[in-house]
Symmetry: C2
Subunit: 212 residues, 2 copies
């Protein structure tokens, strides 16, 4: 890969409005998408998320009306629902510290300062702030997901326009620890999607980048 490829791919991507319903993402490519989700960076490394990958057509069909009837939800190959922890707490810090110790070895006690810093960070926030923080991390995951998809020549459509409460109901999340934040259908663009041909609308560097 050279640096030109990266920008070319980012120019090639667009928020796909119509997928080719006959084209499914091959398993070995999809596996890369999931690896990328797993590798997403997060604040402190806490990964306050779960990702639900939906290929069951009946479930996608049920979600359509709770997605402003955007047909990407039913026509895509794989629908990813990005969820965030409702309430991050000490148990999440403990789990992360335990995983860090398992992967990196060393003395468990040496992780105490890091653990204390994370717990202190969480304790200074209200429930609402903690959830907003977890949601923010999920937007990083969306960013990495869209960029990775473009690199893999997969089409995607980031979607805020869904009804999270209905998604939670259909996906059985209501009584769990995670709640729906975003959806991202992935697959291959249909040749009939005229949006794929339109010039990209972005402000110029001179408008949005300042140098000091």
């Amino acid at each position: 890969m050279n640096e030109l490829d990266v920008i070319d791919r980012l120019k090639w991507r667009y928020a796909t409005k119509l997928f080719d319903g006959d084209k499914k993402i091959p398993a070995e490519i999809w596996d890369k998408v999931e690896e990328s989700l797993v590798l997403t960076p997060s604040s402190f490394g806490l990964q306050p998320w779960k990702f639900i990958v939906i290929t069951d057509q009946a479930v996608k069909d049920k979600l359509l009306e709770h997605s402003w009837n955007q047909v990407q939800v039913t026509g895509c190959s794989h629908l990813v629902v990005l969820t965030a922890l409702k309430n991050v707490d000490g148990s999440d810090v403990d789990k992360f510290i335990s995983d860090t110790h398992a992967k990196r070895g060393g003395e468990l006690i040496s992780l105490d300062p890091y653990k204390g810093m994370m717990n202190g960070f969480l304790e200074r926030m209200t429930s609402e702030q903690k959830h907003a923080w977890a949601r923010n991390q999920v937007y990083i995951a969306l960013g990495q997901l869209m960029t990775t998809a473009a690199m893999l020549e997969l089409d995607a459509c980031p979607m805020e326009g869904i009804t999270p409460a209905k998604y939670d109901e259909i996906l059985g999340l209501e009584n769990g620890r995670y709640t729906t934040v975003l959806a991202c259908p992935l697959g291959y663009r249909s040749e009939d999607d005229k949006y794929g041909e339109l010039p990209k609308v972005r402000y110029g560097k001179e408008d949005i980048i300042e140098h000091i």
Copy 2:
């Protein structure tokens, strides 16, 4: 680029704690980073952000104490400060519609439904909700920035741990329309950064991905 490269690069990246202060990102590579920032997707395409690129050492030095004294801020090649609109309003929708028309042509009136939808979306939100929404978009930009950096073999360190009000003061943003959300130093890792050698800590697919 093949799909293996993408995952290899994501595994290679890490939150760099110590940059090689002597290595600067060449202008032609930095240009790609800025192109990637410009190309970042956002909800409705509204791009409610500005990015401040700091190479002036004196300014980086001033920001250090407001960055939990994390030396990445002063040791990096380029420091990007990601800012969000404080209050998205109709003027931002107008500007975006005008740019869409300039780039895509056609009848301006044909964009009225889209304009109405965006204005309706914004009008249903409080000031706090609008700012939270704009901040969320900035996290997408952070995700794309980190992923792109990895593809370009640049090191980066996402940073929530800063004092945004002090950044605003030093960067002269106080009376403007944008406010600091995040910082991201970029450059090249120092060989002395032991974190670069540690195994990555991520939960497994079986922990964070569910299939339906």
